[in-house]
Symmetry: D2
Subunit: 342 residues, 4 copies
């Protein structure tokens, strides 16, 4: 059994990790920490876990994290980078669901995240945890930077086109939409029900932290510079990301075939039949990314529709997929729940 610890389990990625891990046959949940909720049973905060999780939140310094095989950080940005060095030294492997190790260029990271990085030397060791790209490196990684939710949906949609250099990578557009759980479980006015319900808006059009992450990762694939306009929107629903991606074809190709071939062996990517429109609810609670490819009116613009559950393939599920890889388990272990529809 893999001994697992979770740091910061009071947010949505925390409860989602618990939902998945408690049903994972090879995992022993050892400890979960929260400075604010120390002493509180986890199930009294998240009533869906009543009868299933009997852990109590621990003070971070008494949690015994160093005895775990792997520790997940389901924390705000800036926490993992402080605790990572000690845990790694103790031989613990780390999967960070926050952004601390997602961007390899420290200056870029510090600019977008507005803080000094606490352990810049570790960044180079971190493996970017998108299994569809870095499966091999993840297997042996000691420190995995779990991708952001938007970056997962966008990269999986653009990857086949960029790898084969069949779109103009200097003028990509990602019009993305996210459910409100993506904003986390923080008390803020703008994500109140009475603000977000029966409403739709864009935000962060001038620049969003996920843009440099996506851009840099796509550039690694493109082996050249990538121009991307990234416009996020807030959908009045709880879970789900829908990325609508636009690129201009630079050569005549069968885009449907390109996607089917690229993802034919991927356990969590579902390339839908030509003409399909994936729905966010079709992946609600599941680790799948469903993708459909279109060329409207047969023109040279390719439109890729890519949906994920932001809390699963966009966070906790992908983290467990990474853990499975790191510990030599079949990749789907504990990740086979059928999405909930309706």
């Amino acid at each position: 059994m893999i001994k697992v610890g979770i740091v910061g389990g009071t947010g949505y990625t925390g409860v989602e990790l618990l939902r998945i891990l408690v049903q994972h046959e090879k995992v022993e949940l050892v400890t979960i920490t929260s400075r604010n909720e120390a002493g509180l049973p986890v199930a009294s905060l998240f009533s869906n876990l009543r009868g299933r999780v009997d852990l109590v939140f621990s003070e971070p310094d008494k949690a015994g994290l160093e005895k775990c095989d792997v520790v997940f950080f389901a924390t705000p940005n800036g926490i993992a980078m402080k605790q990572a060095p000690d845990l790694l030294n103790a031989g613990v492997r780390i999967i960070d669901l926050a952004a601390d190790f997602r961007i390899s260029d420290v200056e870029v990271w510090e600019k977008w995240y507005g803080m000094k990085h606490a352990c810049p030397d570790l960044i180079a060791q971190a493996v970017y945890g998108l299994p569809e790209v870095n499966r091999v490196e993840i297997r042996t990684a000691r420190l995995v930077a779990n991708p952001g939710c938007y970056p997962t949906a966008v990269q999986l949609g653009f990857l086949p086109l960029i790898e084969l250099r069949v779109v103009d990578s200097r003028s990509l557009i990602a019009d993305v939409k996210s459910g409100v759980s993506g904003a986390g479980r923080k008390a803020e006015v703008h994500t109140l029900f009475a603000e977000s319900s029966d409403n739709f808006k864009a935000y962060g059009v001038q620049g969003h932290r996920h843009l440099p992450e996506i851009q840099k990762q796509l550039e690694l694939v493109a082996d050249g510079s990538v121009g991307l306009v990234f416009v996020p929107h807030l959908i009045p629903l709880v879970r789900g990301i829908h990325a609508t991606l636009y690129g201009k074809l630079s050569k005549e190709v069968d885009v449907q075939m390109i996607f089917e071939k690229r993802y034919q062996n991927e356990p969590f990517i579902d390339v839908m039949p030509s003409g399909s429109h994936p729905e966010t609810r079709s992946v609600r609670g599941g680790n799948t990314c469903r993708i459909a490819v279109h060329r409207p009116l047969g023109g040279d613009v390719v439109v890729v529709l890519s949906v994920i559950d932001n809390l699963v393939k966009g966070a906790a599920g992908q983290a467990v997929q990474n853990m499975n890889l790191m510990f030599g388990l079949p990749e789907k272990t504990g990740l086979d729940q059928v999405p909930l529809l309706p």
Copy 2:
């Protein structure tokens, strides 16, 4: 023109007051205060008011409230009671949309609201602003306590039965449901979209502040003690209260006729035909209370369904209705918007 000031206009009752008053032909909006947002144009906080309201939030002490004819308090509980004495002395009339003057028994008030009352001597002067009961007193009131949202829906549903003593007033049940805007525009976890959406729950079953308010007002009508079980619930919608009220008939009567007769001259009460089921959306944005009365399977339990928009008839609209009465205007002035459906 009536010179109007608003204290504390950054919440939902504040924006709703502005929406109504800016369209009110006899009102001049003079000032609106907010300690936190002083200097900010109101329309930059509430974009529906762009091009319609050009007021800027003022510091409370520089707002010139004493020059107004009437001041609305759209504040948290405990604010109006501190400022009321000075304003009343300056000849300003007051309509408090919070709870400071709703309960005449100071001890009861202090117990439920958990604070010391700042001007208990003024409570006796306050008129409870439910026009359907206190129309005459409101006309000459200097200080009006605008009823709570639940109390409005519940009282209007029970009134005809209690006035005629045709139900057992010792065993009433009010199963009430409110949209999330009733919780106000405060940053809190439990009213986040991701907490309240696609979810339904009861709350405060052990005791809710609106219970003593309703009970006392019904006792004034019943001229005797009233036993009421009051169970509030949170509905995943923005605006609307639905009260489902249960009473046991103590004599054989035509309940439909009782309601129609009681409310035949009321401008804002709509008694629907027998067999109807009022919907909250049918009053969205309007000052109407729609009511339907049932006797399931012809039995001796009467079921009253009563719906209001919690921000209009349950708050700002009723406040303006009270202002109209206080200043001798036709009661419907500025309150004739047709509700928005769908």
Copy 3:
């Protein structure tokens, strides 16, 4: 492996049965029928099942249902009663998720359901499939009438009080609220998004088909007549029922203890700590019924809050629980998914 057939799998109980059964380790899905969709792959109608279910809808008469060990009817009312005799004669056991066998008095059934019963002689053989009451009978049943969604939530909330005769069973009130999926996957105006969203209303106050079902079952428990007022409402959410139940205590008892004791060995009933307010989302996708008991202000009215997922414990999950009992499996087999929150 249990060979399972499903008749009529194009509605919400159908897709939910498939979601559960495909993850059930002892089940082999053999056939699923739909007259309208014959020839269509199931997963093309319900995209959450892509990659998980490769069945194709069959014509009912070519489906080979008679070779199954058990057949679920996820059909409109009035279908199962026509096909049941032949299947039972062929040795197939039946679980009907519709209402055909829920009410033992044929006249009452025909009055409420507005049709002639096709096989009144079979009704007496049918076992009412509420395991918490009829576990023993279900084990050997050939024909199980799976309870309605409202009846499940209401009965589980009232049962402990009625069995012990501690409430006045002649004046019970059930104020119940259901998500819109309870209305099924039928094209109708009143359940359109633009009609049901941001809206709340009661319906069927004059009489609802679930009333006689609940009343008769409670009378069996009470061993006497039961008076129940039943008022259903439509909540703008997809899954979930919240029953708010009111009864008058006829003797002084510890209601919390009564519930804890009654349900201590029930695998799917969670009696929450005193003072709790169960949320519908805490059971979303799970087969659990969560219950909390209150006595507001310590009075003699007991308020029971009972929540279920209408598609799981209120339909497909309970049906599988019954199947597990009928085939001697541990009751929780295939029903251990953790509910999805948020």
Copy 4:
């Protein structure tokens, strides 16, 4: 007073027309027709109109439409074209809220709408009712083709850029999102609450009827061919369209100033300050289109965000705006409701 008739008032544009017209000081509502609901009081179908509209639906042939000054067609496509000739001959002016006269090229129309046009000779007479472009022609029009909802939001967002030829008009992208009321009040499975709620998807990516309408109108403005990719999506909210528009600047310009200048005298266009993100709820129930313009990271892609209420500026409100123009009234008459927020 303008004598107004409405053909087909049982849909959402019908009830919205009624809501607006009943509050319009210069309008006398004369008749409203519905073949299916003839004899039914309008207010019994739309309870928000109780006490405000006492019209009864008439049989189309007995409605006396020929005595009206203007008739609105709030009908499915293909109805207005059949009745228009007779009414025009009778001297009645017509505003068609459906698509019958929106596209001047009959062949294109017949291809996209899948029917034979009944009066192709009238098409040339029809004026496309977008006041911001055709104000002068609308004043004297006998037959106005009220624009589609998407086309209104998209054109108002692209117009200033195309008129000044500062974007590459051959590669425009319109990623648009609509609330579910845009699908109308028809009983269909895909717009049921349980299908559309907590869900998001694109649709019609291969081609949508609003594409040729937008393209042709923009070509008139561009005086040249326009290349547009148009991808509509369904948002789980009732009212609102959000268009996110992308164009590549062909010269260095101050886009904010271009928009402010173009719309400075438009009564219903609100160009928001630089950096803004308009919300659909800020126009809920109002006839305003709010627009914000961005150049992400200062690049050469201009992103325009444009929001309207699909039932108001996207349908009934714009129709009344057109009527005001046609009858020489101030353009804002009857259209000054403040949007409802929250």
